[in-house]
């Protein structure tokens, strides 16, 4: 038996081992970081709901205030991406895309929620990519369009929670109507992407459910106020008065 050749094969495979180990380790690190991003983003979403529920002292625009605090919270996730950057350079990003994707989507969900509260619009692709770039505008990673859309699609669920739990508060009835129109628009805007972004179809049906919940809530407002002839704001006042009495 040619011992030299044997050694040769073993040597080659030793290189492979290093490659494969390095690959698995990196994947593991990215999965961990991605879990962290998910947790940070989830906390930010709760924070936003919380601020919107509290908003006791209206010293300043509560929506803007919430958005600011939300964005602050997300900075932590951005730091993580900055740290991940060198592990997902160039094509490596696509190699590890599956490990990174869940965190990215949750991040986009949180960011778009903060953005909606402040501006009443969807955060744009460029704006999201911007938050994932360093000061000189160099991206930490190439934001996949699919993740952008899937993250936005999750937003509708949070908006449903926001609309329904806000209904009982001053101005909540008007807000719910706004959110209803917005989510309806989202649903119809996203529809055209369903043939090209596979996982979007499932999320669209969740969006449909959320939309129907908001529609039902808005319906209830209209039915009840139709019994009398009062604008929604007047209703808020009357209710507030009877509770405080």
């Amino acid at each position: 038996m040619d011992t030299d050749k044997t050694t040769a094969v073993v040597d080659i495979f030793d290189e492979f081992r290093k490659d494969i180990d390095e690959h698995n380790d990196r994947r593991e690190r990215l999965i961990k970081a991605s879990r962290d991003v998910t947790n940070i983003s989830k906390k930010v979403i709760f924070l936003l709901h919380r601020i919107m529920t509290e908003r006791g002292n209206d010293t300043r625009d509560p929506f803007k205030h919430a958005a600011e605090r939300g964005r602050n919270g997300l900075r932590e996730a951005q730091v993580l991406y900055a740290q991940m950057k060198h592990e997902i350079q160039g094509d490596e990003f696509w190699r590890y895309h599956r490990a990174v994707s869940p965190g990215l989507q949750e991040y986009i969900e949180a960011l778009s929620f903060a953005h909606y509260l402040e501006h009443g619009t969807l955060v744009t692709y460029a704006q999201v990519q911007d938050t994932l770039s360093d000061d000189s505008g160099v991206p930490y990673l190439p934001l996949p369009k699919e993740d952008y859309l899937l993250g936005l699609s999750d937003l509708t669920g949070e908006l449903m929670r926001f609309a329904i739990s806000g209904i009982a508060r001053k101005g909540g009835r008007t807000k719910a109507t706004e959110v209803c129109a917005f989510v309806r628009q989202c649903k119809s805007d996203f529809e055209r992407f369903t043939p090209v972004v596979r996982e979007l179809s499932k999320k669209q049906s969740v969006t449909t459910q959320s939309l129907e919940k908001i529609e039902d809530a808005v319906y209830a407002i209209v039915v009840r106020s139709s019994e009398y002839d009062l604008p929604p704001e007047a209703v808020d006042d009357i209710v507030a008065q009877s509770i405080s009495s």
Binding site: K42, F46, A168, R224
Partner: protein, 244 residues
């Protein structure tokens, strides 16, 4: 494997099985009590309260004909509630030191109903939210805490059940002519909801049940809204209007 090791292992595992079997019996016991309490408390939905001044007189009359009214109801729940401590004691005696969390899932559901009952009784008597330590005191003893205690999540589940029930009560109180209760409930539940909003939950049962709270609040709000607009709770005038 060494036959002796095998036997030892088997013995230990069978001890666990035995403990589970015995805990199951106690849980069945606890379960019977909590069902019983839930059954009695369910009657609150057809029970006029004293505080409802409008129907006070009819209530008096009703009492004479032996309808249970709220205090009577509460009085019949309290002893069952207290007796839960016996079951807790029995469980604490069964559970090995430091293994509370190992077996906890077996009785979580029953415990949550017990928490709900305690919280409902407290709300009905004092209008206050019962605190975790207070429920814990009612259902068990501090000194068992390595073996049996009340976890935050079970306490929170119990509170959500309370809100579910209060939204029903707000509706039924109006039917029974009590127009103050919904207002009280509304204030109480909003405060509680604000508390819940503080929490960062995972996508688990608690989160899902918390989401459902929004519908209860909405329902309560609608009742308050109906009452306000009909000026039944607010300064009374043009009662005729609301009749249409």
């Amino acid at each position: 494997m060494d036959p002796q090791d095998l036997d030892r292992l088997n013995e230990l595992l069978e001890q666990d099985v035995e403990i589970r079997e015995k805990i199951k019996e106690q849980v069945a016991e606890l379960d019977k009590k909590t069902r019983n309490m839930a059954g009695v408390l369910n009657r609150i939905h057809s029970t006029p309260t004293e505080s409802s001044q409008v129907t006070w007189l009819s209530c008096r009359f009703i009492r004479l004909i032996r309808l249970p009214i709220v205090p009577v109801l509460i009085d019949s729940v309290r002893p069952i509630l207290q007796s839960c401590q016996d079951t807790s004691a029995a469980m604490a005696a069964l559970i090995p030191l430091n293994q509370f969390w190992r077996f906890k899932e077996m009785w979580s559901s029953s415990l949550r109903t017990a928490v709900y009952s305690a919280a409902f009784v407290e709300y009905l008597s004092s209008g206050k939210l019962i605190s975790l330590p207070d429920v814990a005191k009612i259902l068990g003893k501090e000194e068992w805490k390595d073996r049996f205690s009340l976890a935050v999540e079970d306490y929170l589940h119990g509170l959500i059940s309370l809100v579910n029930e209060l939204s029903r009560l707000a509706v039924n109180a109006v039917t029974l002519g009590n127009f103050e209760e919904p207002i009280r409930i509304s204030i109480f539940v909003k405060e509680l909801f604000a508390g819940f909003t503080m929490l960062n939950l995972k996508n688990d049962t608690l989160r899902r049940r918390f989401d459902s709270l929004k519908y209860d609040i909405k329902k309560i709000e609608e009742v308050v809204y109906d009452l306000s607009l009909r000026k039944l709770a607010a300064p009374k005038k043009e009662q005729v209007d609301s009749k249409e």
